[in-house]
Amino acid sequence: MERREFLKKSGVLLAGTACACALPLLPAAAKSINVDSENTAGKKWGMVIDLNKCAKDCNACLDACRKENNVAMHGDKRWDIHLIRKVTLKRKHPAESPEISVPLLCNHCERPPCAQACPVKATYKREDGIVIVDHHRCIGCRYCMISCPYNARFFNYRENHEWPNKDNTRSSHGVPESCNFCAHRLDKGKKPACVEACEEINAKALIFGDLNDPGSDVSKVIAGNHVRGIREDFGTKPKVLYIGL
């Protein structure tokens, strides 16, 4: 074998081996995890937020969430946790629009970048579409916070001292949090706390239900209105949709 030919052949061999070794590194689509609870099996939870019905000065859903999930409020925006929060938006271009108040929460993306980024599979998507973080397994690396394009994740930098709902857990410091559609309530057949609160004050701006079932409230609203997710161009396929965005 000539020196030149030998170099060529070994180069090809080296490149081939490198490709074969890199194969497992290709980003695998995040697998969803089966759920056994009869209240959630076979469903795909989703939410529609009707911005025309959401009053600007109303915080009923936020308060209900804080009470239900023991969400920490330290009074300093660097440490505060928000599983659901409200922002005021105003379009300036091409023409000025009136201000709208938009509740923001985890979009429970159908293709969640947070779950793909998590190195220990602490964040994962359940079969019913809920994206959830298992605090037992989380190592606190915050990759999920960086990869979430919606800033839906907040980190517990401080110990939380509020504990209004003793039957539910609170988060200790060192783990991130985001909305989990009140999975503990859904598994028992109840609605998320925010949706219940919004219904109680008769605003009915949050519509929640099973996207797989064409007869559910949420499917009917989607069929009858123009709904949009936030930044659908990301390809994350959010399951929290807005009317009037």
Partner: protein
């Protein structure tokens, strides 16, 4: 001269032996004189007569059971049959129940950073 030396050695030996035996004797005496009949861990409330598993199983394997129900709830959405919230109905204090053994073997629990259990 030689006899005196032997005597000295004998006395030093006795003194050393007594010093070495003092802690053992102290332990034996204090154990014998204590009338502590309290059980090591607190018995649950009397109106609950049965645990979710038998005592022998719980003594050795409660951590496996807890991990099992944790995975059922977190990963499979199966909640409610046995929960940590239910444990605290009978075992009303973690200082008089969980911590008793865990402190002795220095196996530290971090359940209660997030789960409520009365002190």
């Amino acid at each position: 001269m030689a006899a005196q030396n032997n005597n000295m050695e004998f006395i030093i030996m006795i003194i050393t032996a007594v010093i070495l035996l003092i802690p053992l004797g102290y332990g034996v005496v204090s154990l014998a004189s204590s009338n502590d009949t309290q059980p090591f861990i607190e018995k649950p409330d009397e109106k609950y007569d049965k645990c979710v598993r038998d005592t022998e199983y719980m003594r050795l394997n409660h951590m496996d059971l807890l991990k099992e129900i944790r995975d059922d709830a977190m990963r499979r959405g199966k909640r409610g049959e046995i929960t940590l919230n239910d444990c605290r109905k009978c075992h009303t204090s973690r200082e008089r129940f969980c911590d008793k053994c865990h402190n002795v073997v220095n196996a530290q629990l971090d359940c209660y950073g997030c789960h409520y259990f009365p002190k």
